[in-house]
């Protein structure tokens, strides 16, 4: 049908079926800012439009209702290509990060400021009540509104957007709008879905209804005969290639324990068949025609189930080793089921699949028994964490086609080069046949470090030659994607009356689900990122990761550290309470400081012996002191209502900055013929501002404005190798490569300029705004002249700087998070009143983006701590497949008083003194909130999520 309406102030005709979702019609009509994040659940607000003067989810409006309507989308905010003042302000405030719904946010705030120009905090909260933000949190949207109001009133922003650092530098450490912010906030076509061509096919995955079963047979013949079906792949016709989906350094510390589609299905939602068809409807029809005979098996749904004697085995195939095979391997394999998929280790992970053990490790220092014997008090408690899902607004998605005999993948990934390697492996083709283009990533948070859809889609495209699009449904995101590893962590901690901790023991039991993605590295972080913050002589950890039939686990911002901190931070609080001393004093007494030799690292290498190094730059003490002062540590707050008790808690935290000795980054910077620059960075910007950091490195070193620099990143054809954006590696590794490339180019430019100017190279310097200057003669040569001559008919060639970065040195960020929580001891309701996150990120290169990273990470952790829960039934089926049922935090859940504070520390290794920022920010909320709840009520809740029901039970209310 044709519907006449007004769209963004102009008469328009929208075409489609009357019952089609207005969102889909608008997107198809060119309003690509109107996106969908929840399959029309009516939750996230990416699809928000102004419809007849009010805010509505366009997914919930059928086209037929748009007849005569006035519709406005974010496209209507633009003047030509120029953003409006609200769009500019939200970029300036740093909240445009992965940005999938940033245009919709701008639309909502524009609408608010139109009807309520003086809008205050409560108004903003109400108008953003239906918008979900995962990356940057909600806090700086209040700032953005204030900035707009100031600009309208005074012609300029008056509020401080973020503090500035390093006065001697021009752009490093200063808030400056993200270089791709404008493109993102205006809704440009930048995401994978925007690349899909009209002739594209769809990939649909038929998934297992059982958590554990053997596929005895599949009859896909009827489906294959259906008109519009191009191909059907099952366990019986995919290649016999083993791999794993974690995008990690090669050789990976994860087992190759899967093929593209396996005979044995190991979780609800595991792949059973892949259908390539003309359209979704045909694919669904084909799926319904496939007859699968399953032999259901008893599922293993927890680490307790997995470790039970006689437990069903999730994997029981032949085990192989690429290196380091044990002598008794043949005997070990004698009980294997040859029909099951193999498990191949690149090197030993101390696994034992015949006991469901995917990996194990242990290590420590000193003598813990002696340590416990010296203690005046000991706590020995077990803490449990749940299975949070990353919930990026843009689900896992990929588009592929064949071009010039090569496989081209438009991917939303954190690891384009691992995608290339793994897809090449499953397709059994060389890497040069695969071109991965990392598009803008609408949220990753670790889940896009795993190659969860590109493997299958890439294979289907390569085999069929068709352009194919795949997008997870939101329900698939929950049950067939990757999540945090659920963990059970026992902490035994002993201490003396004076607050000295004498020994710490951690027994970590992790649940990797059906496959071993990150089964060593993520759980290792529960100890390797927590124990080194303690200056304690006796520490030991045991780690065992188990296979189960739960939904898959994988990487998630912070890896295992948020779980380790929940356990160890809570144990510290419990021990202090038992000893009757202040936990903050106890933390300070036992924390590391710069120069302390980290002997503990020896036993914490990921599958290898770790190097012992001293603590580098460390702002931990300052963070603790400042945070304590801000929150009024030690002062008891009263609510005035006897039911509402108020408590305070804190956590001291650290993380890493990439993986020294394993990670590697490369970058090139080209001088163009007009004297401007293009950066080709291997780093994968996920919206966190890595491209902006690269641009800043070039602008700073070559003394040009940032507007003279463009960045292309994560394109495997045009950019050089980078291990990818994970483990907080972006700033330290990828940006160091950009810095090195800029310095290399500067050297080459000075060399060339010396020849052109007939000067001595040592007399030359670069100066703003893009000149080579001779300190001896005062002569100047513009970059334009330099480049133009270098690339002329008689020139010596184009100028390109290349930089790579790998390092043995650690740049460890530290921090302290403080929470003030109110708990209603009658109803169990919990409210985070104040949250102060203080972090030493070295030099914050993009301070406003760094602060929003902190707000976003803390919000995720508040979610994991208090609300989010992936619930399985007794058969392993996921019951929480919508945002509402799963329970992500919205603006209403954000702390009333929320501050991110950057501790000013200069690191000796990071680029311009920078360290990482975002992962560490996931570590503090759980222990700080748990401690605050205990402070308020006297009750410790030792499992995620800390619900009102658990608090009330702990208080013995029922």
């Amino acid at each position: 049908m044709e519907v006449r309406c007004t769209l963004n102030g102009r008469n328009a005709i929208l075409r489609g079926n009357g019952d089609e979702r207005l969102r889909d019609v608008l997107y198809r009509s060119g309003c690509t800012s109107v996106r969908d994040s929840d399959d029309a659940e009516g939750f996230t607000g990416s699809d928000t439009v102004i419809f007849n003067g009010i805010l509505r989810y366009s997914n919930l409006i059928p086209l037929v209702r748009a007849e005569g309507a006035e519709i406005m989308t974010a496209e209507g905010l633009l003047d030509g290509r120029e953003p409006n003042d609200v769009q500019e302000a939200i970029v300036a405030a740093g909240v445009v990060q992965s940005a999938y719904n940033s245009p919709a946010m701008a639309l909502v705030l524009t609408y608010l400021l139109k009807i309520r120009p003086e809008a205050g905090r409560e108004d903003v909260k109400r108008f953003l009540s239906g918008m979900f933000v995962r990356d940057a949190g909600y806090e700086n949207f209040y700032l953005a509104v204030r900035l707009v109001q100031e600009k309208r009133k005074y012609g300029e922003y008056r509020s401080e957007i973020a503090p500035s650092f390093r006065p001697g530098l021009s752009v490093i450490g200063k808030p400056a709008a993200k270089i791709d912010g404008r493109a993102l906030v205006t809704g440009e076509k930048l995401y994978v879905e925007d690349r899909v061509t009209p002739d594209s096919y769809v990939l649909h995955v038929l998934r297992s209804p059982f958590a554990h079963a053997v596929v005895r047979s599949i009859d896909a013949s009827e489906a294959e005969r259906l008109d519009g079906v191009e191909a059907v792949y099952t366990a019986f016709n995919v290649p016999d290639v083993y791999y794993m989906q974690a995008g990690q350094g090669n050789p990976e510390p994860s087992p190759y324990d899967r093929k593209l589609i396996n005979r044995k299905v190991r979780h609800q939602g595991d792949r059973v068949a892949a259908i390539v068809a003309r359209d979704e409807e045909t694919a669904m029809k084909a799926a319904s025609l496939i007859r699968v005979e399953y032999q259901p098996l008893e599922p293993v749904l927890s680490v307790e189930d997995a470790m039970r004697d006689g437990a069903p085995l999730v994997h029981n195939g032949i085990v192989e080793y690429v290196s380091g095979a044990p002598d008794d391997l043949d005997a070990y394999n004698s009980s294997a089921d040859p029909d099951e998929e193999k498990v191949i280790y690149q090197f030993p992970l101390h696994a034992d699949i015949r006991r469901n053990i995917a990996a194990s490790a242990h290590g420590g220092i000193g003598d813990i028994e002696k340590g416990f014997a010296e203690a005046d008090a000991i706590v020995d408690e077990t803490y449990r964490t749940s299975q949070p899902q990353c919930t990026p607004l843009e689900p896992h998605v990929c588009f592929g086609h064949i071009e010039n005999g090569r496989l081209v993948l438009n991917a939303s990934t954190q690891v384009p080069y691992h995608v290339r390697r793994i897809v090449a492996r499953v397709c059994q083709i060389p890497e040069h046949k695969v071109h991965v283009i990392k598009e803008k990533v609408g949220g990753g948070y670790g889940s896009k470090q795993d190659i969860l859809v590109e493997d299958l889609l890439g294979y289907c495209v390569w085999k069929t030659g068709k352009p194919i699009y795949y997008r997870n449904t939101r329900a698939e995101e929950f049950y067939a994607n990757s999540t945090r590893h659920p963990m059970r962590i026992r902490v035994k901690m002993g201490g003396k009356k004076d607050g000295t901790i004498t020994a710490i023991y951690m027994d970590v039991r992790a649940n990797t689900g059906p496959y071993g993605n990150h089964c060593l590295t993520v759980p290792m972080n529960a100890s390797s990122k927590t124990l080194p913050i303690f200056r304690v002589d006796n520490m030991y950890y045991d780690l065992i990761t188990y296979y189960t039939n739960c939904p898959p686990a994988g990487a998630y911002q912070g890896y295992g550290a948020p779980k380790g901190y929940f356990a160890i931070g809570s144990a510290l609080g419990e021990l202090a309470m038992k000893l009757g001393i202040d936990p903050l004093e106890m933390a300070k007494r036992n924390m590391v400081e710069e120069g302390y030799m980290l002997e503990i690292l020896k036993g914490l290498g990921e599958g290898r012996e770790g190097a012992v190094v001293p603590v580098g730059s460390c702002g931990l003490r300052e963070a603790l002191d400042k945070g304590a002062e801000m929150i009024g540590w030690g002062r008891k707050e009263e609510s005035g209502d006897p039911d509402w008790k108020i408590g305070k808690g804190f956590a001291m935290i650290q993380q890493g900055s990439g993986l020294p000795g394993l990670d590697h980054s490369n970058c090139q910077v080209k001088l163009l013929t007009d004297g401007t620059f293009v950066v080709l960075s291997g780093g994968a910007d996920l919206g966190t501002g890595l491209d902006t950091i690269s641009a800043k490195c070039v602008a700073e070193i070559l003394k040009v404005p940032m507007s003279d620099v463009s960045v292309v990143s994560g394109d495997t054809d045009s950019c050089l190798f980078d291990t990818g954006a994970y483990a907080s590696s972006g700033t330290y590794f990828s940006a160091s490569a950009s810095l090195n490339a800029a310095m290399d180019l500067k050297q080459k430019m000075l060399h060339e300029a010396a020849l052109q100017m007939d000067e001595d190279e040592k007399d030359l310097e670069v100066m703003a705004p893009g000149l080579v200057h001779s300190v001896r003669t005062g002569r100047k040569l513009s970059y334009y002249e330099l480049s133009h001559t270098a690339t002329s008919g008689t020139g010596r060639g184009a100028l390109i700087g290349t930089g790579s970065f790998s390092t043995p040195n650690f740049a460890v960020p530290y921090g302290a998070h403080f929470a003030q929580v109110a708990v209603n001891v009658r109803t169990g309701e919990i409210r985070v009143q104040k949250f102060y996150a203080l972090q030493d990120a070295g030099t914050p290169i993009n301070p406003e983006l760094a602060m929003c990273q902190m707000y976003g990470a803390v919000m995720k952790s508040i979610g994991h701590t208090l609300y989010e829960d992936l619930v399985l039934d007794k058969d392993g089926r996921c019951l929480t497949t919508t945002f509402t049922d799963y329970g992500v935090p919205m603006i209403e859940e954000a702390p009333d008083d929320f501050k991110a504070v950057l501790i000013d520390i200069n690191d000796q290794y990071g680029p311009f003194g920078a360290k990482s920022i975002s992962e560490i920010a996931c570590n503090g909320a759980a222990p700080a909130i748990a401690m605050a709840i205990a402070d308020a009520t006297g009750a410790w809740v030792r499992s995620w999520p800390i619900t009102g029901e658990k608090v009330l039970r702990a208080l013995g209310r029922f």
Binding site: F43, Y57, T827, T884, M890, E949, L952
Partner: protein, 223 residues
């Protein structure tokens, strides 16, 4: 889904007679949202009113009035305004209607307890013609039909409360009181109205939102 758009109540009723399986499409936040698929739906936006107005003794709220309109209107009973704000998102409140909410008879319904406690008359169109019912009869399924409006006594005092894990989570329990009249809901466990302790009539059950014991306890301390 074929969406039929009657221009009058009579037309809506005759369509419903022809298509007994077709739901009424009011705000569409249920019938047109994820997880629902119908062959036909009857869009009642042109047939049923959304006005909120008052007469000498009563406040009339059209079944198509959105929860946001109810929340903002000074005429709406306070208890209903409280309850309308349990719908956590502005976009959703702008779409969701009071008729659609009541028609689902949900035990985690935003308005269920408030409606029960404030006891409006429900004006319905049935196959036999216009009819009136008490809200408790309607919510208990003893009366049915196309809801046209709710008629409340004027100037009702009262308040509504909810407890859920977060603002956007479904409510574990809710309660409302208007004078001596109380009403409660507990998810998966039903709803009840009457005296302060009428929650005891509920058959509490465990679900994703909490255990039976938890919900029973919460209602025992709600007011």
């Amino acid at each position: 889904m074929r969406i039929h758009i009657p221009q009058s109540i009579a037309e809506a009723m005759s369509m419903r007679k022809e298509l007994p399986e077709a739901p009424f499409f009011a705000g569409g936040t249920v019938v047109y949202a994820l997880g629902h698929s119908y062959d036909d739906a009857i869009d009642i936006s042109k047939a049923v009113g959304s006005e909120i107005f008052h007469t000498m003794r009563h406040v009339h709220i059209g079944a198509m009035a959105s929860l946001e309109k109810i929340r903002l209107s000074e005429l709406s009973p306070k208890v209903l305004r409280d309850a309308a704000s349990f719908c956590p998102s502005l976009q959703q409140r702008n779409a969701a209607t009071i008729g659609g909410n009541a028609a689902q008879r949900r035990d985690d319904g935003y308005l269920t307890a408030a409606l029960l406690a404030s006891d409006p008359t429900v004006v319905l169109m049935t196959e036999e013609g216009k009819a009136e019912a008490t809200v408790s009869d309607y919510l208990a399924g003893r009366a049915d039909g196309l809801i046209l409006e709710f008629v409340f006594r004027k100037n009702l005092p009262g308040e509504a409360r909810r407890i859920g894990r977060s603002s956007h989570a479904h409510m574990a329990v809710s309660g409302a009181r208007v004078g001596d009249a109380y009403a409660y809901t507990a998810s998966s466990s039903g709803f009840a109205s009457g005296g302060k302790d009428c929650w005891q009539e509920l058959g509490f059950k465990d679900d994703l939102l909490g255990s039976a014991d938890y919900k029973r306890y919460l209602l025992s301390v709600m007011f």
